[in-house]
Amino acid sequence: MNAPALRTKGPLFRLTAGVLLLAGLYALFGWLAHLPELIGGTSIYAAPIWLPAGFALGALLVYGRSLWPGIWLGQFIVILVYLLPQTGTTQAIVATSIIATGSVLQALFGLALTHRFIGRQPALDNVPEVLRFLLLCGPLASLLNATIGSATLAVVASKGFAGLLLEWLSWWSGDTIGVLFGVPIFLAIAGAPRVIWRPRRLTVGLPLMFAAVLIFAFFYAIGRLEHENRRTEFERHAELLAHTVQAAFASANEAARSLADYFNASEQVEANEFLRFAGGIHQRHPDLQALEWAPRITDAERAGYEAGRRRQDETYPGIHDYGPGGTGTPARRRDAYFPVHYIYPRAGNEAAIGLDLGSEAIRREALEAARQSGHLAVSGRIQLVQEGRQRGAVLVIAPLADPGRGSDRAAGYAIAVVRIADVLELALKPLLHKDVAYRLTDLDAAPAMRLLHETGKVTGPPLYGHTHDFDFGGRRWHLDIRAGENYRFAHRASYAWAMLAGGVAVSSLLSFFLLVFSGRTAHTEQLVRERTTELEEARAAAEKVRQLLEESVGSIAEGFTIYDENDRLVLCNEAYKSIYQTSRDLIVPGNTFEEIVRRGAERGQYAATGNIDAWVEARVAQHQSASGQRIEQRLDDGRWLLIVEHRTPSGYIVGNRIDITALKRTAAALGDRNAQLDAIFQLSPDGLVSFDLDGRVKSVNAAFTRMTGLAAEAVTGLSQAGLERQLRALAEQPGQWPGLESCFRAAKVGADGTAPEQADRHLLPLQRPHAAVLDLVGINSDAASVSRLLYLRDVTHEVEVDRMKSEFLSHAAHELRTPMASIFGFTELLMHQEFDEATRKDLLATIYKQTAWLVDIINELLDLARIESRRGKDFSITTVALPDLVADVLRALSLDAERWPITVEVADDLPPALADAAKLRQALTNVLGNAAKYSPAGGTISLRGVTRVSDGRLQVGLVVSDHGIGMTPEQVAHVGERFWRADTSGSIPGTGLGMAIVKEILDLLGGAFAVDSSPGAGTTVSLWLPVAPTDQAPEKSVAR
């Protein structure tokens, strides 16, 4: 039924529609079950499968018990159609109602059992459930209507006990099989849960439907065959029976003929003779009612005859007519009478004596037929006078010839009285069966008188019939034998039982196995479906992942490949194909790596392959032993690839290819730059030490070695502490050097790579290999292989200059402050105190002297500053004739000639110097002044003009020697320093700037100055000057 469509309507409509549909279904299949019978087929098994019972239960299970009226209606229709022809309308309706109610009860009972023992929605997919279903809903529930139905039918159709049992069994088995088949079929079509039942339409519904048809056909065929067997059996029986009956009647003929022959052969038959003879015959034919002899008595002979008879027998009633009630009235007068004369056996037949056989039509007709034919004749059915009305009999009449009167009139008749029931029953005794009916008719008799005998009754319409016509004493007799349906049940009923039981068993097994296996299959299928769904989902997910992978791989700029364990390409991206443009067509999934590489090599894709076979072999080996090593591959077009391949745990080879051409170029450029940097590093005048990541000395440059005397081999690999120890050993004051770490604390490379300004300098004064001061700068580096850099700068000179500057300042301050102290002090005293004139003058003189001294110092300082700042730019270099210059100086100096006599040995041909005359004069003045000052005790001062060759150049020199206090070599080394004075006692006045100015001037003039001195012996100062070119005329006068 179309449930979804029904749901759209109201509940009452749905219920009504459901009921009607169920009723229709029930009736249809009920009608189908009876179809063979209805179309005339006959089988001993009526409706062996009653599928409606199963559909009924199935419908209730699926749609609820409210559908029960449908069952009732359906069953009612089916049974009514079946019963109506067989019985009365009222009876049929009553019986049908009972049976229909039984069907409803049975279905409800099955429903209750199912709900109680199996469940609301029976899945019937496991053995216990199926077993309960097979046992409870089939055999058990079917007991109900089998009993009710068969009992009702038995009452209505009045069947025998055997028939009832078989009917019950048939009903029960039909319902059982119907349920066992019908419920699964119905559930397969409409049952819940659909997951279980839907697939069973094919595995259960269809096979069971097919099996139902098959079993139905089987039962029908078997029943039909059995039916035919029964029919044949019946025919055989019936035929035998007919012949027996014919034979029995034939023996009555014989008896009559024997008696007739006896009378014909005898002149006179006495009473005792008759009794003896007839007794013999009767003994042979005990089924005969009686043997009679009836003579022909004319009306004339009547009185004599009656008298004669009375003489022999006082009870002789006289000739009398046949009449109602048996004993008739005395015969009316007619031409001739045929009274029964003798009769044997007399007992029981007395009433027949004296009866005129001609007084009754049937008897008379038979007598006449015998007389005319001269042969035996049989009467129609007559009512014997000696009996009640019910029992019919016939007379077999044999005529006795009257010798004197020809054949038209018989002298008498020999008669055998045959009571039909006796003969038949005797003959049929061994052949009697249940539900068999016999009917013997006389076809020659008037219609009303035809029935001779009838026995037995058939239940229902006769199934089998047999007729036998035979001639009996000139009359056509007809025997009709019929058998009802119980005939077959009475016969071989166990066979039917076995068949039905077998049917139930087979159906049970079939239903059981189909349900159990389909249940398992359904479970398995459900499992498979779930798994399939999972698999589908997993596959979809995997597909998504694969797609994602492909997209991802496609979006990678690097060439990406996956080769499988057989080294066949599985996956690669566009970038990979683009890299190997030459063999692009070969890069197809499925191709092996070797194929792709070899063909590529043959096409000249790779650079420097050499022997292709060997190259390919090596490349493939490399590829297959991939474990992440970096392979650089050069292509013919100059590109470089970096290949990194991995073998995954699953045996696949994943490869990455990066175009590193640019990197290679950069690396080459970097190499060049490194070489340059190396050169710079090595050539740098400053010492450099680099530390590796472990903090060990990585390299040092030549300058470092030069500064420290530590060879590269000696320090490479040392830790920072080790290097520090080495440096400390060289230090001037090892204990005061804080070490290297403080250098690093100070500085870190800035973001722009420059070292920030250091607040403090980290100076390391070295004693060895030579006195020097190093400025150490430590830099923490973020470079890949260098953790720290140590930068050493030789600041010996710088430090010295600084020290000198500082000292100069200190000296200058001192030299300036000292006269100022006097000036300041005296001035203040003069301002605040009153002094006498002499003192005042003295004080002013002192102030004046100190001021003059101060002016001297300032002038010299300014001179020096000017000389230094101008660096000779204001010099007027000319050819200077030294004799003139010397003379000028001596004249200007005007030393005390007595105290310091001067000897001058300057030849006029002395080569002229190339110099600034004014500056040279100042220098010479200072030297000569010193010579005088440092000869406090006086002494000769000599001045000589000399030449020498220095560095291949001719120099002219002025050598001034004194005999003064002289200097130690240490003091000599200081000569030329500013404010340094050989005399610290203060007894020799001086600014300490004179020789400094000399040194500066000579330096700037490109000359040199040398001091040679020994304490107490005097000092010799030499001023060396470049010689003026000879082609230049010497100037006599020098501009001042």
Binding site: R817, M820, F824, S985
Partner: protein, 135 residues
Amino acid sequence: MSLKTQKLLIVDDQDDLRKMLRLALGYGKYQLLDAADGPSALAIARAEKPDVILLDVMMPGGMDGFEVCRAIKADPELSHAFIVMLTARGQTSDYADGDAAGADAYMVKPFSPTKLIEVVEMRTKLTRPIGARNY
């Protein structure tokens, strides 16, 4: 402080400065002594045990003012002397050197004689060098 005449030793290699100091401090309160170099200053000090010593720093003769100062302060008989260092250098390091040598006051040349008199007169109150603030 007794009213007896105190001894004041002037040590400087400059004749003119010694003359100036004598003139400035010769107002009758002090018995003035002088020396032109370190060794003679020390000898006079040991002999005269002066109360105040004006000590030049840079002097010829192999012994500078600081050395003389250290020697005097190291001598228990002389250590009470109030020593004013007179220096023409005026550098920070000199104050430290003076402190280290045990000097009581410090005057940078050129200085005001009046200021010097104040320092010498108020010597007991002075604990720190006056330094260049005397301008």
